[in-house]
Symmetry: C2
Subunit: 403 residues, 2 copies
């Protein structure tokens, strides 16, 4: 059978992700991996969950094991409403859609907004899963460079103006304003306000992805774009994957009512509903006020890990290597001197020295960023960070010696 | 804000499903509902799950709460491989993709095969969720009538020939061969073989959806299309929702390797992976050999409920009403005399008499089937079936008197 003539244009364009293939190389236990964006498993509330699951099964087992509504469990949505209210987001539970991870939020928002050939403005670099979602709907992407405070607003204005001159109105601007994946940078208030201003001026929407937002371990909180928006231009995506655990696949999207309705219909046709059991357990966990203390302890742990990684970088990096100083989240972004290629370094020098990272090119839709890479500090232990950064520095030296 | 100019063509075409809106009317506790296609909640293994979840958390909690692979948990896929082998499906675990309910299987297979304007051949009537998925990818549908043995093969041949004359090659034929939703009918071996023959002759694929297949309570098993296929033309979709419980959202797709690969990539961009915890629990449940006894007891219960419903129908239906005699599954299909409209009857006579069903029109992509409707026997209790069919018969009498 030759299936080529059966595949959709979207499927014809799909290929195994770079990250997936590289991660296979790093799965040997000897390799210290700074690659996958995984939370620390020792922060998962394993023992506590045993009790909570027993209670859910006892109190409401048959409902929790039945089909649920597409929008999500009413009790969970009410808990999420209260949770986001503490972060300055004042929204009705009717605008909160439970999704299977934020990746489903990205998929659904893309599905209701994008036709093939539509334009999306993304950060350079940007979250890989976002790029994959937009690509799968055959969107065209336009990139805006970042500096240490995130997306550059003057560059955004230039890009929007250039698009306008070609009579192109982008469907939305995709940003991760807090501790961005992969760069670790955070947008300050001025840029957030300017971003909203530009969205209004060029009449476009904003998809604000905030998976790491609650994991700030230094500096000052900045308001979400959703809470600053007065016009209904922002869809906010958030997740329990980094606050609770990823293995429940629970996240949520907050959207203006008209967009919310379309996303619900898209979700219905995509998977009917998210797992009722997982939602019932999450609701119970939040009702018992277990989430806030868990988030506190995750922040403490990640602060420590980030400090260790930054200290090791200070001690071991050559002078011409740059990196970001994140105030939260999971990631640190490294810029090697021009001319160095992080893919070559990974294959020839880092993996042989048993240390791994994700190449920065994977986060650039346009194939740029070859001299960049992402390091995750959340998953490895403190000891692994200490040893791993030494190996990483050695790999850079090896590579440089061979250049 | 006016969002109309932002929505994709797919979103512009989406609207709240008829079933959803009607179900809202039937949620009063006084209403006996034969509407939703829900399994009986007293078949859910609530107590057993408490022990199994404790064991999973204890043995492998941190892995079960972490991200998993897109393809699905290795242990679960190996259990599914063994499970389908007992049903004559000999397939490598590498061809088994874990999905969030079969609805995600339908979405993924549509996503990798369908571009806007592509043609799909469906049964008349057909599963609503399938129609929604194909519609959301802007497919054109062509319908083939059923009789009491499922899709009519002579009509299928005619339709395929008519398409060929217009130089249209359908991407696939979508069928639910066992205890079809909504009709309850099952295709015999002759039709299955003919269907495969026609698919080969007209060079198209088959999507075989078998959510109810394992719930046969009378008659003889027929082989799956997947097991009869020698050419790699069949994608099989199956689910734990009707065998275990729906609230875990676990199902699986089996596909030829080339299609499987594309579906994995589509799933990665859709939601990264299914819930690792749910998969670990399901694997443990199967390893402990709990699934087969559960399925046995579900079949006994549904046989009894179906018998009661059929007996009540025999006793109370007017002579000119027809219905199917299912050998398994959850549904019974009712054909009212021509000229009666099941939607009118629902709103004006059935709901006032506190009984509900799903109108047959919802299962016809072309808006036909106005004199048909679907009754679910799995969810209501035996007592509710007895009382509900009396009410249903009274609604028919009321409607007829008013005609």
């Amino acid at each position: 059978m030759d299936y080529a003539s059966f595949f959709s244009i979207s499927a014809q364009g799909s290929s195994r992700s770079v990250i997936r293939e590289i991660l296979k190389l790093t799965q040997r236990p000897e390799v210290i991996s700074f690659a996958g964006g995984l939370p620390a498993p020792d922060t998962f509330p394993v023992e506590l969950l045993d009790d909570i699951m027993s209670k859910v099964l006892k109190d409401r087992g048959r409902t929790a094991l039945q089909y649920g509504t597409t929008e999500g469990d009413v009790r969970l949505r009410s808990q999420i409403k209260q949770w986001v209210a503490t972060d300055g987001i004042d929204v009705s539970a009717d605008q909160i859609l439970v999704t299977n991870g934020s990746q489903q939020g990205l998929d659904l928002v893309s599905r209701v907004l994008l036709d093939p050939g539509d334009t999306v403005v993304v950060e350079l670099p940007s979250y890989l899963g976002g790029l994959q979602a937009f690509r799968s709907y055959q969107a065209k992407m336009v990139g805006v460079e970042q500096d240490h405070e995130g997306m550059k607003m003057d560059r955004l204005a230039e890009q929007l103006q250039a698009l306008r001159q070609k009579s192109i109105k982008p469907k939305f601007i995709y940003v991760v304003p807090d501790f961005q994946n992969p760069s670790g940078t955070t947008m300050d208030l001025g840029r957030r306000l300017r971003l909203l201003e530009l969205a209004a001026e060029y009449d476009t929407l904003i998809v604000e992805d905030t998976p790491y937002r609650q994991l700030r371990f230094s500096g000052e909180d900045q308001p979400t774009l959703f809470s600053l928006d007065k016009e209904g231009r922002v869809v906010n995506l958030s997740t329990f994957s980094k606050l609770f655990c990823p293995g429940f696949r629970l996240a949520w999207a907050i959207a203006p009512p008209a967009i919310f309705d379309k996303m619900v219909m898209a979700k219905q046709s995509t998977d009917l509903c998210s797992a009722a059991f997982n939602q019932a357990v999450m609701a119970e966990y939040m009702i018992q006020e277990r989430l806030a203390p868990q988030v506190s302890s995750i922040k403490q742990l990640y602060r420590r890990k980030c400090e260790v990684m930054l200290r090791m970088m200070d001690e071991h990096m050559p002078k011409d290597v740059e990196w970001t100083k994140p105030e939260g989240g999971l990631f640190l972004w490294v810029i090697l001197p021009e001319g160095m290629d992080s893919m070559v370094m990974l294959e020839k020098y880092a993996i042989p020295r048993e240390v791994a990272y994700v190449i920065g090119q994977a986060f650039h839709f346009d194939g740029s960023g070859t001299n960049t890479l992402r390091l995750t500090f959340s998953f490895p232990t403190v000891e692994q960070i200490e040893e791993g950064i030494k190996r990483f520095a050695a790999a850079i030296r090896d590579y440089r010696a061979a250049l």
